[in-house]
Subunit: 309 residues, 2 copies
């Protein structure tokens, strides 16, 4: 089963990057696309994110053999409703959302009898919108598929090959386990980053200007993911509530233990943890999941946009 | 009062970078250096971190008009003891530590009657040791001086000019306020990063291999600062206990509020915070304190070191 026509619903960072990556890696595939925002459709057309920008989602999916929903996970059920009547019987329906149990439920409810294979490319940047996409986004990144138990094997195979052709490594996983794993590797990190950036901007005794000036001490690393798309992330937390609260509980337990170690002056406990955490970064770099250059390579690229010392 | 001979005690990332930056920007200054680790002294000599690597700290400071202590803040009192008898009466003694009240107390106790001006260049990478330094580390970064009220104004002026020549912007601040500001912009971010990396590596239901594979979802951003030098950071938390516990209390309050919003499904509260936090990153980039490229510019530099999919 070869994929020849891909429809992309939602032309933001993810949808746009898929369109551009298809054009780069599999130019024989015809792409159509739709975005609910007319301005985004215009930008998508002028950037050439897909071959044809359509005026409705129904029109975009009419001839597709693969439909990829690239909308915030909270909107996925509504978006699916809009394509229901036009969707070809044989098309595979997939998505790119960061929580997978809720997406599976929503898509199955809206599109009964269709072949639904939820997917999550673990890739992104803090940018969003139709200007943000680029064709290399998925290269060397993992894409997790969470097909239901009764999924058509050929369809799973086709979708796997599709993502591999875009440069991803593909893993098949149970949706429930996906949601637990991503709670740790993505959702809790975002939640913590949003929190500390919020805390820092609300202080009375430290000014916002001081927070910005001295952010190179570590804080700035958190501001990147705390600049991610608010609607997308609101939906992730609302749709993966169980796993997020479970992992948050473990994090705050560990933080409380560290707080106690500081209060008691237990230097050995601190040193032991701080030594242990170095190993994980080493593995992440060895496995090509982060930049090996110190400071994310930022120091290679020193710029000063402000001259008012 | 012109600085002509600088002694650097401790030749790790910070000490080494100061030596290299002096050689780059003010080659007329003669630099001497010492490190308690004989291997580090050898590396320092072969990399040319200072003009002359000495066999004792006393020898290194003998002719200096500026001595910069670049050791973990917990060791600064001991290191000061070792230079006490050799230190020229007129020399300025400074440091690079991340907590300033405790450093001031330790240096004044060990070196009574000397001119002590604690300093903190807000710059660094996750690397440490004599291999890690580079001359551009301080460029466009802030350096905070915390002179005591009775400090010699000429000495403060000389030290200010010294750091400005290395590329830094200098700010004078009260040591107590410094410790509060840095608790937010540096110490709490490190503590949180160490914690979440520890939490993620101790789970039973998510494997360490999964954490590493899917780290591009956000987690990897935290692993950078959680790979920082363990001894340096143990000492920071032990010496800035008060401000760290105070700021940690505010952070956990805010995190608890967010946890409640998730539990109750309060999407508006989440969306409001997630929108607000974007502004801070924009300011940090505008003020040249971080890289404007998406994903810290990592996406410009995609590499894959692992071929075992």
């Amino acid at each position: 089963m070869a994929i020849e026509r891909v429809a992309i619903i939602g032309l933001g960072l993810l949808g746009g990057s898929i369109g551009l990556a298809v054009a780069k890696h599999i130019p024989t595939i015809a792409t159509t696309g739709f975005d609910a925002d007319p301005e985004a459709r215009q930008t998508a057309a002028s950037r050439g994110l897909v071959d044809l920008v359509c005026d409705s989602s129904a029109e975009a999916v009419r001839d597709a053999d693969l439909v990829i929903m690239c909308v915030p996970v909270g909107a996925i059920g509504f978006a699916a409703e809009t394509i229901k009547d036009a969707l070809p019987k044989a098309a595979i329906v997939s998505d790119v959302g960061s929580s997978k149990q809720s997406v599976g439920v929503a898509l199955r409810a809206a599109l009964p009898g269709h072949c639904i294979i939820p997917a999550h490319p673990v890739a992104g940047t803090e940018q969003s919108g139709p200007e943000a996409g680029f064709p290399e986004l998925f290269e060397h990144r993992w894409c997790i598929l969470t097909p239901p138990d009764d999924a058509d094997e050929n369809a799973v195979q086709s979708l796997t090959e599709f993502w591999e052709t875009l440069g991803s490594k593909v893993e098949i996983m149970d949706a429930e386990h996906h949601d637990l794993v991503l709670a740790v590797t993505s959702h809790i990190p975002h939640l913590i980053a949003y929190t500390i950036v919020g805390t820092a901007s609300d202080l009375e005794d430290v000014t916002r200007s001081e927070v910005i000036k001295y952010s190179a001490g570590g804080f700035r690393d958190f501001t990147r993911i705390a600049a991610s798309d608010p609607t997308m992330w609101r939906d992730v937390f609302l749709t993966n509530k169980g796993a997020v609260l479970e992992m948050l509980g473990r994090f705050t337990e560990d933080l409380t233990a560290l707080q106690r170690a500081i209060r008691r002056g237990d230097g050995d406990a601190l040193h032991e943890l701080f030594t242990r955490t170095r190993a994980i970064r080493r593995s992440i770099i060895e496995q090509g999941q982060d930049d090996a250059r110190p400071d994310f390579g930022r120091s290679d690229h020193v710029t000063d946009k402000s001259d008012d010392h």
